[in-house]
């Protein structure tokens, strides 16, 4: 006996599968700090991406040109230069 499914919600997908889900806690983006602003905020951009306001207060001090890992508008990690190199294999 297969239970009858309830009527599904009629809705249109809005998320971009290729770029992942912005809701999930692990959708982080590496951004470059472009300029520092008042109140812990700063302007940052992902490679090829638009300029965005990011809260830098959790990783301060940072300087323009530094790279940070941003999630939901907040920088969580200050990435040091050279740490992206693959050395495991």
């Amino acid at each position: 006996m297969t239970p009858t499914p309830p009527p599904p919600a009629a809705s249109t997908p809005s998320c971009d599968v290729q770029h992942g889900c912005i809701t999930c806690g692990d959708e982080g983006v590496v951004m470059t700090v472009l300029a520092l602003e008042d109140d812990g905020l700063g302007a940052c951009a992902a490679p090829g991406g638009a300029r965005e306001a990011v809260d830098l207060s959790l990783v301060a001090p940072v300087e323009p040109g530094d790279e940070v890992l941003v999630h939901a508008g907040v920088a969580l990690v200050h990435l040091a230069a050279g740490e992206g190199e693959w050395t495991a294999a």
Binding site: T2, P3, T4, P5, P6, P8, A9, A10, S11, T12, P13, S14, C15, D16, V17, G20, C21, I22, T23, C24, G25, D26, E27, G28, V30, M31, T32, D39, A46, P47, G48, A53, D55, S57, L58, V59, E67, L69, H71, A72, G73, V74, L76, V77, L79, A81, E83, G84, E85, W86, A88, A89
Partner: protein
Amino acid sequence: MDGGMRFVEEFRDPALGRALAGEILGAVEPGRHYKLMEVCGGHTHSIYKYGVDDLLPQNVELVHGPGCPVCVIPMGRVDDGIAIAREPGVIFACFGDMMRVPGSEATLLEAKAEGADVRMVYSPLDALRIARENPDREVVFFAIGFETTAPSTALTLKRAKAEGVPNFTVMCNHVLIVPPLRALLESPDLRLDGFVGPGHVSTVVGARPFHFIPADYGKPVVIAGFEPLDILHAIRMLLAQLAEGRCEVENQYTRVVPWEGNVRALEVMAEVFALRPHFEWRGLGFISQSALRLSDAYAELDAEERFPVPGVRVADPKACQCGEVLKGVIKPFECKVFGTACTPERPIGTCMVSSEGACAAYYNYGRFAREREVV
């Protein structure tokens, strides 16, 4: 530009991937079946996007964990959000995927179609901006996510309190990663050999919270990044621990995850949030001290204090087997409604809504009804 790509391209190098796959093949014991859980939905998505599982020997099985906050939100909380969104004068702000999660009667997107002012935002700061721009309206942000989004909500609440934005509140659904892992490890129907630990959650909480897994349950954990080589490397590290009889927390994602996490983020969270005594997880039931509410100091910014919410517990649809999928007991294609009644366009269960849900990952990358092909 180059700097950003440095973190991406070299972690997708096919030659290095093949070399790692060869090392993994050499590390497995013939006749032994390895069951490894990737905790985070971001890993699930990467594994199917890049076909990581096709590079693994047949006796290494990946089980998909509960690490997608959309997938674990129970129907009753969606209903509560819709009830607030339908209050007169309310602007209800939430992340995009959340709008499509079915409640017992409707989704937030359908509530919007019926006249509720529901708006998609990319960060809680956007919701605060909407509140500043609409002082005559009540703006409610539906906060969801693990420890990576919680700092963003916490900082926004601190700003709202400092600025005195009276028309901004938050409906808090933030959850914690450790309690469901403990619940899964206590589950009698799940046998696991090790965990691919969550990468970006660990940037906030650090590695220490995962020590109970080797200490209390004797399973290794490797915190991993999200590129295909990160995941293969983490699997190789887990297999090495198992082969050598070691059992510890290791960090594969050292280029991003500091061992101690982000102490400042944890301090802000401790100020703004308090533990809920219990919280319902879809498919996993009530788990004690597994979610956050606003602390007493921030009660005036708590949407659940300002607006009436039904707070009714709603049973999941009977046909939906998201619970078993979340626990890794069945594969998505083994669910009776997978790909037929339940699709990303018309989801029944939450695992089909978010692109990081296991069902959506299987559906979008063509894993409709088959086991993995043998390498």
